[in-house]
Symmetry: C2
Subunit: 478 residues, 2 copies
């Protein structure tokens, strides 16, 4: 297989969605969700909704079947019950469809009978040169062509590719990632991998010029040897970040009823991922943290952090988080400490140190001069600024004014700073804080600043990012 | 010292707030924040704002000094600059004040000169029988008496005591904890511990009948031997949960400039906490998770979890989280699996297993019958239901209707279930989800259900809770 094989998967000229609702009060799930997603994401080709009852949906004619569609159909999304799958794939073969995605479930994840049906469908597809995505998955999100599986995915393309066995997790990662400024090249939720597998996708993304970093959520694989080759090929040329799920016995059992895959032993996976130089993470949040890091953080020249923010206790915990993750928070020399003291309007001789708790002083003097001083000081390699929203009381006005002005300082400093600047905005339950977090996060990524939701998350991601580059350098791969 | 010594700290009949703003456009910080907090929290005694300029604030007369206040003053909150602290404490001694809280900073955390001043002030206070809270802290939140340091703390009392060296972290824990249904007996942010120390507070809370579980955020202590005795005494009679901050070198340095405390070695702390049977956690979120657990979770009879929720990938990760934390997700016997299959309207003979991914079926049949079945099955000890909001698309209507109906099922099942029922609501960045999470969380705790923000957090907290009780049992302390 070469990468051009998948062009029809990512760039179809027309899409038929089989199994849309014909009711006026539509719950936007299944096929209806896909039609809405294609419309909202600006898909430029023809969209053909299909339901034997006919009718209309959002101004689009509903066709009574695949064969009733005039002109060619490149790509089909199936949202009909599994009982109609066999007939559908035959219709598609007759119509000359290039790729079919089964949102439909009830195949190999449901035991022998489903397995047999899945094999039969994939055999028919193969014979007619049609690729099968899934079954039992969300399918493809490709902002460039306007394909998507949720109506609110970002319209802009980016450099992050995502290979995700689970549909629900793909939705979560695309939506939450979108709000964190992660922009995707291609996302594929591939479910049971009846035809198109994680190995195909790693091979494709390895040579895809639009993809700069590859994230993967993997439950298991059916062809271990081929998977190893594909992953190694990808990891040789691009950063690969893997969340391996089903690492415990119960998790592995859940895997087999979810996608029918073989989970494999955790130790074997760990060894292999290390060997090929892939970055292993252990949660969806960590996957997103890595994507933010590779998307926005320039490589710091070392691990020495200048940490600043508001609140004594938060500052103590921030230092612990940095050092525990493998970063350093070195003591400032007397000269820098004194300069900081005078910048903050303290009495002559007051010495401030790293980590810096600016507390009330920060409201008055802001962060610009401090970050300028740190930028010119060669004892740190990056600056991390934490926004500890949780310690501020309402009214909300205080957030927008005071925190807002500090966020502006950080953005302006970033624009002139030679040293990477990183923001951490505490994820808070309180509603007013959450709103501010959402807005600030957007301002940060729009300005090109890596922003995280916790100091632990930021420190761990930055350390992994550094390790990745150090490993590449040690292997002469830079 | 015996616990009655602190009655004036928690139950003053009158409070003077020294250092309030006299300006019309008040930023609600410092003294002004305390006046607002006392008013909002329903403090029943007299409130005396103080500023040499006089005037009025929210209908309260501003006095020009402590001595100008008619009648007695039990409790003073100082928010004036450190330069006025010595005179203030002398005035308070003359006035017969019983306790003074210094929000004011600039004492021992700022080096020798501040240390000297702190000592002098505490000596004057001691001589006149006055307790000092702080300096350099947020002070006391006691819902029963209406004392608080933020305007939006919960008015209701509860069984959770919090000893918190950091003011910012105390605010965070009270506010976020409040939204998670944690209700406090007493919270003390004690800062530099010039007089009232963590040891005093552990001793007090150990014998306080209103406190059922003690949380502590500790940066360090000055009197290791007494602290050990106090903590041991508390841990002997109540659950004690400790977040020790400053566990790395940089963190310890941050501690010394924050509260002037000696951080101590991480290993020594770990050994000691284990020895006395205290539960050690490593983040503010974990502190809150433990408080939720002790407040709402009945002790399960074992570690066997029935895990259910929506989404295959989420279910796989949920199992991994449970098992990694030390819980079990045992396979269901054929009989239960078949019953589940028929409850969900699957074909005859379909076997479902633990963990349960209910996906689309759950929308239709709900959780009531499933939870009833699990309640009657003796192979699990508790049920955990995860609400994986992130995989659902807008519009928001879908959350309120479909998720809302599932949440109602969980609440109704909890009311009749003999087995503990636990809810996990995924913390999501997306605004609509966040809103739903906030509301659902409230409904859960109001119904007496322990609710968490992540499966990892829930599983870890439940395992620690079980361990605590197992340890007590093994020591014959039940």
């Amino acid at each position: 297989m070469n990468s051009s094989d998948l062009e029809e998967v990512f760039n179809p000229r027309s899409v038929a969605v089989v199994g849309v609702s014909t009711q006026k009060q539509r719950t936007q799930v299944g096929g209806t969700n896909y039609v809405r997603s294609l419309l909202n994401n600006g898909f430029q080709g023809n969209i053909y909704p299909v339901n034997p009852k006919g009718g209309e949906i959002w101004g689009l004619k509903i066709y009574r079947g695949i064969r009733a569609i005039p002109g060619s159909v490149d790509y089909v999304i199936s949202s009909i019950p599994v009982t109609g799958a066999l007939e559908l794939v035959k219709d598609c073969a007759a119509k000359g469809v290039k790729a079919i995605h089964f949102f439909t479930s009830g195949f190999s994840e449901f035991g022998e009978e489903g397995e047999e049906l899945e094999r039969e469908i994939c055999a028919i597809a193969k014979e007619s040169g049609m690729r099968v995505i899934g079954p039992n998955c969300m399918g493809v999100y490709c902002p460039k062509s306007g394909l998507s599986f949720i109506p609110d995915s970002a319209r802009e393309s980016g450099r992050v590719g995502l290979i995700c066995q689970s549909g629900g997790n793909a939705i979560y990662l695309v939506r939450e990632g979108g709000l964190r400024g992660i922009r995707f090249s291609k996302v594929v939720s591939y479910g049971n991998a009846g035809d198109l597998s994680e190995s195909d996708l790693f091979e494709y993304m390895a040579s895809d010029p639009d993809t700069g970093v590859i994230l993967a959520y993997i439950e298991g694989t059916k062809d271990g040897q081929r998977f190893k080759r594909a992953l190694r090929k990808a990891a040789d040329c691009k950063p690969v970040v893997v969340l391996k799920a089903g690492v415990t016995d119960s998790g592995a059992r859940a895997v087999s009823s979810h996608t029918g895959a073989l989970a494999g032993s955790d130790r074997v996976w760990d060894g292999f991922l290390q060997q090929v130089g892939a970055i292993r993470v252990s949660s969806l949040e960590e996957l997103l943290d890595m994507a933010v890091t590779f998307s926005y953080l320039p490589l710091p020249s070392g691990r020495r952090v200048g940490a600043l923010g508001i609140g004594g206790g938060v500052t103590v915990l921030a230092s612990d988080a940095c050092v525990s993750a493998g970063l350093k928070v070195p003591r400032f020399p007397r000269e820098i400490g004194e300069k900081l003291g005078s910048l903050l309007g303290n009495e002559a001789g007051t010495i401030l140190n790293n980590p810096l708790d600016l507390s009330a002083e920060a409201w008055k003097v802001g962060y610009s001069d401090i970050l300028k001083l740190l930028d010119g000081y060669d004892g740190t390699d990056l600056s991390i600024i934490h926004f500890s929203l949780g310690l501020i009381s309402p009214p909300a006005q205080q957030h927008t004014e005071t925190w807002g002005s500090l966020a502006r300082d950080v953005i302006e400093s970033h624009q002139v700073s030679a040293k990477p600047v990183v923001a951490v905005i505490q994820m808070s339950v309180y509603d007013g804080h959450h709103q501010w977090m959402l807005e600030a996060q957007k301002k940060f990524y729009e300005a090109g600043i890596a922003a995280y939701h916790s100091m632990d998350g930021a420190a761990r991601a930055i350390d992994r990012f550094m390790r990745y580059h150090e490993l590449r350098a040690s292997r002469g791969q830079v």
